[in-house]
Symmetry: C2
Subunit: 348 residues, 2 copies
DNA sequence: ATGAAAGCGCTAACAT
DNA sequence: ATGTTAGCGCTTTCAT
């Protein structure tokens, strides 16, 4: 039913080659013919058949994105950056959303995404890659770009977790706190591990000692401890300490956990920052609503940049691998102190 | 580089027709040949070429989803439902995320999505369709399924906004409130309009009169007033009223707006439910964190169901159009009163 | 049961 | 400058 180049060719009394040339802006077509063909194409409301074009060009103009849903806000913003950029470049996005960090579903998606003629490249988000990943996928025909995760053998875009954790902790130190705890996710997760090291470094540099008693890695392992429940649990645990051993400030490894921490405090009739100051990490949308001080990642830009990296890779398969580190930004809001009523809450 | 059916055919000493038959489980292939071909295919790590297959079959096994990003949580959950279901059916999802309800970008996406050979069907989310939509797209070759939006000419899955608004308002009435206000989004938006009618109906049925003074449609029009800012602004406006004219309870047309409403209250040293009880709509993830009573939509199920509808449509293009209405559920939490400490906040 | 061949709609190399 | 032809990798019809 829809028009093909054959229909155009017939109507314009030319060969399909000429039609193709016109449509693809190739030189060597007389102005007269070009215009005639263009007119017919327009009249027929012609649209190229995506798959036919892809098959002939050996290019899909599609990229696959595999993203765990639990990354939530982060996911959405990065995706938005990607989408905006992709659109202007004529690429489409095939979305593979992971329900949990389920290795099996991940494999299934990977298999589909890497299927011949499915996508030109693949973007992986916030995923912990299995050890044999390089072996299995390094020599595949599609480039991989990692966003918010790292592997030495593939291009990656990440945020400087250490710098972020350092900044958060340092800010608390500058505020005058001497006893600063940390509630961490599961340190098996690379970001959790690195955020911990940033926390520790800041402590050391300022001559504060690290106290195991006020460092709580997550006991709840779902989502690697990056959950509200895990934060709640850790804080309840923390609050078992005798009063004089409690920290006066806590750096929490993610905002969702911080949500739980704040709930736990509320349940103990404690408030932030008056009783204990809190700084989170991620700057999820929620953080601004509740005045949570946190570390903000330039998510949208990361998305945009990752597209650039993908295109570079597409046109130069063998260039050397690059790793881009974004520096996150401290967002001072109320839970860390210095809260100014009527400004912080509403305007940022 | 990757193996094709020709490679298999040669190695297995058969014709490509036979290979194709084996791969597609057609009858009329001897067991012996079938096994031989299968083995070779496996040895060669054969994967069909998606586009070649699509071209030949005139089927892409892909569906396009056009979704405005601002729907946020709703978006994510519905998408998750869709994705899970799609995967089991061997369909892929092409994602077109809209940055705002921008008609131009929408057209662009629609054009891509409806491109020949791009997707078998198209799902539209939370989108207000232009008037000429039917004319332009009804007779296109791909079926449309509308989710969270309505148009008489296309299959749709929506939530019963009227019933939800009614339930919210009725609950406030049952709690003993006599003076119940509403903060609405922009009534130009169908859900806003319908939620308003549910609110009004509940009022009428209980013999309460509708008072213009405590009904505030949004003055801020971005996102049709479904935003935190709009809610904040409306509440500030509402609080101008002399004390005795203030409502004792307010039904807010969405949770994001309710966030703003609560902020505005906080800025006036008012709390919910003590000073004014609040019920929202949507049950976004945030709602549970802050104890916001609200109306919950079965988002995941809506996603799953929409896939079913799409497949029905794919196999029966001319069946009559169906509209499915999901009934939303009231989630009683603290902001409407009856808050029980240590249970509501943490456990649901 | 199976091989050969046509066709899906396009691009690109090859003629002229 | 333009028409013709050979793929792209697969499905499907037509012979045998």
């Amino acid at each position: 039913m829809p028009a093909t180049i054959y229909d155009i060719a017939k109507k314009a009394s030319v060969g399909i080659g000429t039609v193709s040339r016109v449509l693809n802006n190739h030189p060597n077509v007389s102005l007269k013919t070009r215009e005639r063909v263009l007119k017919v194409a327009h009249d027929l409301n012609y649209q190229p058949h995506a798959y036919a074009q892809g098959l002939a060009r050996k290019k899909t103009n599609t990229i696959a994105a595999i993203i765990p849903y639990f990354t939530n806000y982060f996911f959405l913003e990065v995706l938005q950056g990607i989408q905006d950029k992709m659109l202007t470049l004529g690429y489409d996005i095939m979305l593979y959303g992971l329900n949990e960090n389920d290795p099996e579903q991940f494999e299934t998606y990977l298999l589909r995404a890497t299927q011949k003629g499915r996508a030109d490249g693949i973007m992986l988000f916030s995923l912990r890659l299995p050890d044999d990943f390089t072996m299995k996928y390094k020599h595949i025909n599609q480039p991989f770009i990692l966003v918010d995760c790292y592997h030495p053998d593939f291009d990656s875009i990440t945020v400087d977790n250490k710098a972020g954790a350092y900044a958060a902790t340092k800010h608390l130190i500058d505020l005058g706190h001497k006893r600063i705890g940390m509630i961490n996710a599961n340190p098996i997760s690379p970001p959790a591990k690195i955020r911990f090291s940033g926390y520790k470094t800041a402590l050391m540099e300022s001559g504060l000692s690290f106290d195991e008693k006020i460092y709580k890695p997550s006991r709840i392992l779902k989502y690697d401890g990056f959950s509200r429940e895990a934060g709640y649990d850790s804080m309840i645990d923390m609050l078992e300490l005798p009063k004089h051993e409690l920290p006066t400030a806590i750096f929490v490894s993610s905002d969702v956990q911080a949500m739980g921490v704040l709930s736990a405090m509320r349940d103990h009739n404690l408030t932030a920052p008056d009783d204990i100051a809190i700084v989170g990490f991620d700057n999820i949308e929620l953080a601004q609503h509740i005045g949570l001080s946190t570390i903000s990642q330039p998510m949208y830009e990361m998305g945009v940049l990752s597209v650039g990296r993908m295109l570079d890779r597409l046109s130069n398969r063998n260039g050397s691998v690059t790793h881009t580190l974004f520096t996150p930004k401290l967002m001072v809001r109320e839970t860390c102190g210095h809260y100014k009523k009527n400004t912080t809450m509403v305007n940022n």
